[in-house]
């Protein structure tokens, strides 16, 4: 009886805090949370980003006796897309799969934070992890090949949408797929696809026709079209379609993730 008397002394919450101020504070807390989580991996992530970005920019020239300017230009303007996608699309799902295996996934779900705010914080971290790598890759490409890059203001929406869509697709793969093994397998498959089987690093005309058609429906080629159009004056596919396709993928993936996170277990 004494214990229930003691419990009665603890005052209950004076009501649930809501509103913009609360969201902003949660956003900052979750930003710190994700940054602290990523801190363990920072060395590995930097190495992977540099290898994937600078490595490809420099390595591609070895494939040719004399590398054609168009091939150099395609790789140099495609590598930023890969840099933007690696953390949100590939690394994120793997971390969530590990958390599910280790059992701390449930814990993170119990945090008293709005899930959209949490997703926004994670998207910010992914963007911040991709941007420096992207800039370094572009600088190395410029130094190595002396390309005629003309960066237009459209780079801002292109980079933001690419990073956001990649992160949301990764979020959906991580949360909407129950089996962590499947999540890991899919994210490894995606690595293969973004490097070799989506026309990010080379022109679409070098693929077989059916694969090119298939790629029209997938977001990776369209992301490359958006980013490339903002980096070079090269005429390419209509950019409007690319924004539309990537936008649809982002919204649908975010919806899937929200559904998976919002339902009761």
């Amino acid at each position: 009886m004494a214990s229930s008397d003691a419990a009665a002394l603890i005052p209950p919450f004076a009501g649930v805090e809501r509103g913009l101020g609360r969201s902003l504070r949660d956003y900052l807390s979750m930003l710190r949370w994700h940054l602290a989580g990523i801190r363990l991996w920072i060395m590995l992530l930097s190495a992977v980003q540099v290898l994937a970005g600078v490595g490809f920019v420099l390595g591609i020239s070895l494939f040719f006796r004399h590398i054609p300017t168009s091939a150099a230009l395609f790789v140099s303007t495609g590598v930023p897309v890969i840099n933007l996608l690696l953390v949100g699309l590939v690394f994120g799902p793997q971390v969530v799969a590990m958390q599910k295996n280790a059992g701390n996934y449930e814990y993170t779900r119990t945090l008293p934070v709005n899930r959209a705010v949490n997703a926004a914080a994670w998207a910010t971290v992914c963007l911040a992890a991709g941007l420096p790598a992207m800039v370094i890759s572009l600088v190395v490409a410029e130094l190595r090949y002396g390309l005629d890059l003309q960066i237009s203001p459209m780079i801002v929406p292109a980079v933001l949408l690419t990073s956001f869509a990649g992160t949301m697709i990764g979020y959906a793969i991580a949360h909407a797929i129950g089996n962590p093994m499947a999540t890991q397998l899919i994210s490894q498959l995606i690595v293969f696809v973004i490097f070799g089987f989506a026309p990010i690093l080379y022109p679409i005309s070098q693929m077989p026709g059916w694969l090119a058609t298939l790629n029209w429906w997938f977001p990776f080629r369209q992301m490359a079209v958006m980013v490339r159009a903002a980096l070079t004056p090269m005429p390419g596919s209509p950019v409007g379609t690319a924004y539309l396709v990537v936008g649809v993928w982002a919204v649908v993936s975010a919806g899937l993730a929200a559904w998976a996170l919002g339902r009761r277990q």
């Binding site: 490595g55 494939f63 040719f64």
Partner: protein, 269 residues
């Protein structure tokens, strides 16, 4: 109850075995037992290994093709003859170290070491089984590559020692590396970084003459170009000549891998 106990013959005290078992027949017997033990453990992974290896080898062969605006017959031949090497490298340098890592984390590794068989027999069994597991995927990757690029290969008797030596080299070096590095997570990082560098910066699907001078020299010491060279010599005429040095390089790496494994295995904890 008492009757049941009384009915059994009273057991004499356990006698220790007289003398240690040793000698070549005992080693062969150990090897046979280890084959059975390892095969029982590894056979569930055989289909997956073959599938992954074929996909990696064939997938990369297709991928390299997409990067070229035109695929000349010479380029096609280089890419197709690079396929077996491309499927062996992930097996030896990623899957074998990962397997060792899993065994270390799961405790199987220490258990196997505690078995009363010669450790050299344990290692010989593992190496042989992994090498045999490597072969089907390698052949399948080559078949996919020849089909995709429609190249005509002229297979010479040199192919058999070439494939075997490459497979043994990849397995021993991968295993030796995994044993030498005590922390499994470090092994994981190294193999993942290594595979990327190797697949991009090694003259496997393109001639070594396209490399800058210093990288060319580095690849005369590393095993990857030698693997591609001996495979090419077994699959085509005229593309790779004077492969004696390449065989010597591969042999040296195999010995180094065996020596590393022997040193770690022979040492006490």
């Amino acid at each position: 109850m008492t009757a049941a106990v009384a009915a059994t013959e009273p057991l004499g005290p356990l006698e220790p075995r007289r003398g240690l078992r040793s000698g070549f027949p005992y080693w062969v017997e150990s090897l046979r037992c280890m084959f059975r033990y390892d095969w029982g453990r590894l056979r569930q992974w055989v289909p997956m290994t073959v599938v992954i290896q074929t996909c990696m080898g064939a997938g990369m062969v297709l991928m390299y093709g997409f990067f070229y605006p035109q695929i000349t017959p010479e380029r096609a031949l280089f890419i197709a003859t690079g396929a077996p090497t491309l499927s062996l490298i992930p097996l030896g340098f990623v899957m074998v170290p990962n397997g060792v890592m899993q065994e270390k984390l799961g405790g199987t590794f220490d258990y196997v070491w505690s078995l009363p068989v010669r450790r050299s027999a344990q290692i010989a069994s593992t190496f042989t089984l992994y090498t045999l597991m490597a072969l089907p995927g390698t052949v399948l990757a080559l078949l996919v590559a020849t089909w995709r690029y429609g190249v005509h290969l002229s297979v010479s008797p040199l192919l058999l020692p070439a494939v075997l030596l490459c497979a043994v080299m990849a397995v021993t070096v991968g295993y030796g590396m995994a044993l030498l590095i005590p922390n499994p997570l470090v092994t994981n990082v190294i193999v993942n970084a290594l595979i990327f560098v190797v697949l991009l910066f090694s003259p496997i699907v393109y001639p070594a003459s396209q490399l800058p001078g210093w990288l060319f020299d580095v690849h005369r010491v590393l095993p990857f170009e030698s693997m591609a060279q001996v495979m090419r010599a077994g699959l085509s005429t005229g593309l790779a000549t004077d492969v004696g040095l390449s065989f010597a390089v591969l042999g040296a790496w195999t010995l180094a891998g065996c020596a590393a494994a022997a040193w770690v295995v022979g040492r006490r904890h």
